[in-house]
Structure formats: structure tokens, C-alpha cells
Symmetry: C2
Subunit: 248 residues, 2 copies
Amino acid sequence: MVRYKATIAYDGTNFQGFQRQPNGRTVQEEIEKTLTRMNDGRSIQIHGSGRTDAGVHAQGQVIHFDFPQTRPLEKMRFGLDTQTPEDIAVKDVEIVDDYFHARYLVTEKTYQFRVDIGKPRSPFRRHYASYFPYPLDLEKIQQALPDLLGTHDFTSFCATGSAVEDKTRTIYEATMAVNPAGDELVFTFRGDGFLYKMIRIIVGTLLKIGNGRMPADSLPGIIAQKDRNAAGPTAHPEGLYLWKVSYE
Amino acid sequence: MVRYKATIAYDGTNFQGFQRQPNGRTVQEEIEKTLTRMNDGRSIQIHGSGRTDAGVHAQGQVIHFDFPQTRPLEKMRFGLDTQTPEDIAVKDVEIVDDYFHARYLVTEKTYQFRVDIGKPRSPFRRHYASYFPYPLDLEKIQQALPDLLGTHDFTSFCATGSAVEDKTRTIYEATMAVNPAGDELVFTFRGDGFLYKMIRIIVGTLLKIGNGRMPADSLPGIIAQKDRNAAGPTAHPEGLYLWKVSYE
């Protein structure tokens, strides 16, 4: 068996998330169906760097799988790309050592979150950015962002019901840019890992700060409380992109 | 009756074009349904600056309609915007003189055409750019573009079967830009009017030139032939945007 690592992008709009499940179309299922077909009907299973929820997108999700034969890499990439549905793109394929694992060996993940702040909401971004039509003081958001950096117990920013025990994570980068037209915010978060719905709760909290319903210096206190109720609402999934996964 | 002019955007993906027709969802029908509802069920008809085909988008389509009462403009805009489906946005509403006509008084129209030249095709652009995965010499396209400028009989760039008699049009602007990532071409065409499928045939011809299957200086000869068969193929509708309509 040869182990392949692939970098994929997908438009999450018409998926019930990445991970295979009994009901609903998933990214994993579509890719496994294609690989199994390429393997003359013998089942192939893939492993992703992590799940993404329904409606969440990926520009750089990483998967690995074992395939019986060595194939020319561009042939493998092209075959997978063109045989999967058009809302999945296969950007890169490489052969990796047998010990490579797309989930266990992750060192960093980068997410983007986009917020459409235009009036009206752009019909072209309705599936690709969350919409926030209320007043925003962007300066307050810029002030609050550095408070996320470093190693913290992010219990307050984890959806209740998560089975993960250790909720300590390190965030290396937390920035916000405004697009040239001034009608879209692009948040970038890079860290050693993120809890369930963590980015969406962070963005919901930052928007509450920008909207003046929480002071700009609220984040340290929210983190200290270790209580999901202390943070803001969960932002909608359509603004979230798994942007990059790093290894080694 | 008060005459209103409105500037609208729409994602053409799920429409059978702008103009009302017996079968299929259209932009005109959705807006007229909303206006009629806002008018207590009494029918309101809209007039657009022109049709757009199935799959074609608009950032700045202009319509006009007559409504019995004067309403605060932002209230009218917000009502129309929020009550139409989410793939239509109402960007601006103003009250105009009774002689204003969205179609007859057009002085200039601007279209954009986007071509995804990345490998693989971006899943996020599959409805918003035409895909061209073949080699392209962009310099040849840049060389050819100025030959479109000025007043010409564009019969060679008009879909056969068009009922329009005078096929002379003036093009003021014909440019191509590459996006920062280098994987998307953005063509802009501005003129006093365009024939049926004219932009799509122009782009199909330019891509043929860029791909080396036609010399870079072909356009004057194609124009001179006044024969649709002399030009290249019709590019796909999903790359086309009605960008701006100017009056007076």
C-alpha cells in the first residue's frame, strides 16, 4: 500500500460537513466513493485533518489514504479532482511516509472567517460570508484581537457538549482585514488547534464588541470565567474556511 | 403614480434569465411578485435595462416601475431587498421623472467577464467564472483587445437568429486584468450597447487567440467578414456580469 496525502478545497454549502454520516451528503463520502471507483470497487477510506461542520468551507483541508498502487502524482490528482463532484477540488497530491497521519500530526491550523458588512447583503456572498448589518466600530475589534494570542484555557469559546477534556490551546495569530471595497471583514486565526465551534464563538464575541454591546477589553475576563455563557453568540457557518493545515 | 428607478444585483445561477417567461424562475417575476405584494395585490410591472441570459449575473442592473404612493426611499429599498429572495439584492432606489425609461434611455453599459484559469477549478467560482484550463498567452490577448475599440458592425459577434437590424455598436473600453493570485482573468467591456451574446462571443474569440489557435491580429478581419462563423465560440454564461448601466 502507498500512503497519499492530498490537499483539497470544498464549497461546504451543499454538504452536511466533512465527516461521513448515515444521512446527508458529506465530503468524506464523496471522496471515498471516487477513490473506491478508482480502485476497481475495493473500498478505500480517507482520514481528514479534522471535521468541518455543515456549511463550512475549506481551501486547504488535508486528507490521507492508502492506495494499492503507486500512480503518477498528477494523474492521481487529476483523476480525483475530475471524478469528484464540482464542489470539491483536489489541489495537490503527494506520496508520504507510512507514519504520516492527517489528523494526529497536525502542528498548526489556520482558519479564515468572512463577514459581509455591506448594505444590502451581496447575493454573491450569501453562502460564502456571514452577514452582519449592524453598526461596527472596527477599532474596538482591532483592540480586542491581541487578547486572544497565547496559551489559554478556551472553555468559554467551546460549544457545550464537547467531549474534549483539555481545552487549552495556543493562538499564534488573530487578525482582521477589510477588503478594498470596505464591505467585507476577513478574520485570520492561526493556532495549534481549535475547539468545537471555537472560531465561530470568537467571531460572534468580536462582533458583539464591535457593535458596542461588550467592552473592547472583555476577552481576558471571558477567558478567565471558563463558561460558554460568558462569550458571545456562535457566528454562522457559511463565513468559516479551513484555510491551511501544517505538519511536522 | 410615482416612477421609481432601482439598481439591483443578482446571482444568475438559479434564474432562467432576467425576463419573465412562461416556464422557469426569472428575476423579473420575483421582483414583480414582491412589488405586487407591497401594493396590496395590485399588479406592478417592471422594466429592465435589458435581458440577461440564464446563469448570467448582475451587479448593477437597472429597472424602473410605477408605484401608486411615494414612500421613503430607504423604506422602499429595504422592503424590496428583504422581501425578494436572497439571490436578488436591491442596492439603490430613487424617484425619477415620468419620462425616465430603464431601457430606452441607456447611454452606456459595462459588462465584466471572469475566467477561472487556476488548476484545479475553484469550487467557489464554479458558478461565478467560466473555466479555461488550457495554455494562454495573455500578452496576445492584451495585443488584440484594442482592435475592439471604436464603432464597428459587430455582426460577426452576434448570435445568429437575433432580430436586431442595425448591428453597429461603439466600444469605449475593452480591458483585461489578472487577479492578485494570478488564477482569474477579469475582462471589462464598456460600450453604447451590446448585441445578443456579443460579450460571450468576444471572450470566446479572445481565449482562442490567447490559446494560439488564432493570430493576435485576427479581430479586424473577423469584424470585416460580418459572419458569426468567423469568430470564436460563445463563452459560458456563468462568467458574465452586467456591471453598470448609465443614463443621460
